[in-house]
Every structure is written in C-alpha cells, then in structure tokens.
Symmetry: C2
Subunit: 103 residues, 2 copies
C-alpha cells in the first residue's frame, strides 16, 4: 500500500469522475479525522468499495494504513493542494452542491 | 446546437477527464475571443475534434454558433462559475501546469 509519488491531473480526474469515489473524498474532507473503510456511507458492496479505495490510493488522493485489523484512510490534502491549488476545494464544494447530504 | 439547460458536475467531469477536451477549454480560457473549431491546436483529426466539441457542448461547457460557414466556440464561463465556483479556474490552472504550453 505504498503511496504514489507523483500525483497527476489525469489520474486525479479519472479517479474523481466516479461519483462513489467523489463521495469518499467528500466524506474525508468533511471530517477532521481519518476514517475506517467500513465507516463510509457508500451505496456499493464492500468489495466494490475496496476497489474504489484502491483507485483513489493509486491516484494519490488518499493514504491508507492499518490500525489493528482496520484499514484507515487519510486524504492527502496538502500534497493535492500543492500540486493543484484550489482543485480539491472546488470539486468537494461542487459535489456537496450536486448531492446534498442531510445533516 | 441548442445549449443544455442544466450543467451537472457529473457531465462536466466526464467531459473534462479527456485531455483533448481539457485542452479545448484551456485554450478558450486563455483567449478573450471566441474561437473557430479549426483554430484550436489539437492532436486529433478534424472529425475526432468535432466529437470532442459536441461532448463539451452537451455538458454545457461551451456554446457554439455559426459565422458564415465557420463554427465558433464560446466558453460558458459565467454559467459554469455560477454552478461550480472556482472549479473551472482550478482545472485550467492544473491543466496548464500539467501540460505547459510554450509562449
């Protein structure tokens, strides 16, 4: 589960064109803590979710690590913001607007 | 060639995940005038370019109109910025950084 070294716009967009993956990133943005894979609210099976987490990791959007048997997810916000200033904020804001979450 | 009424994030991202279509939008952003289809610097055939212009139009990113036999392209910047604040600027800045154009 090594992190990718180079975050490219093409892979970031290929990752975030999928609404489930956008939802994962949006949920990570909305909390200040790292989240277990199982704690996301996603409309897909566990194995499908695992695939989506892998795509996000391979695009450089998230970092994953284990705590016991739980796989935790961290948004690589600083690195993404450095590579593409403003992109993550604009995308998350747009995603929240597109799919309002009840609070 | 009617413009779409509703610009959705999903269709905008599906349009802009393609590097040729991102290049069209970036080139429109870099100029203050509308551009003929034939005046873009694109690494694809004319018929492929026509397909890409259509996808951009159907996503609501561009408006097309004729002047004589020339098909002109306008970026629908105000509408995109209203729907998704900051997204277009962040994407164009990222695209310019990803694929630097010599000046």
């Amino acid at each position: 589960m090594d992190d990718v070294q180079t975050i490219t716009l093409q892979r970031v967009l290929e990752a975030l064109v999928d609404p489930v993956r956008r939802s994962i990133v949006t949920q990570l943005c909305e909390t200040s803590v790292d989240l277990k894979c199982g704690s996301f609210d996603l409309p897909v099976s566990k194995s499908t979710a695992t695939h989506h987490f892998r795509v996000l990791r391979e695009a450089g959007l998230i970092h994953q690590y284990y705590v016991g048997t739980s796989r935790m997810n961290t948004l690589r916000r600083a690195e993404i913001d450095e590579a593409f200033p403003g992109l993550l904020d604009a995308l998350v804001t747009a995603d929240q607007k597109a799919t309002p979450v009840p609070h």
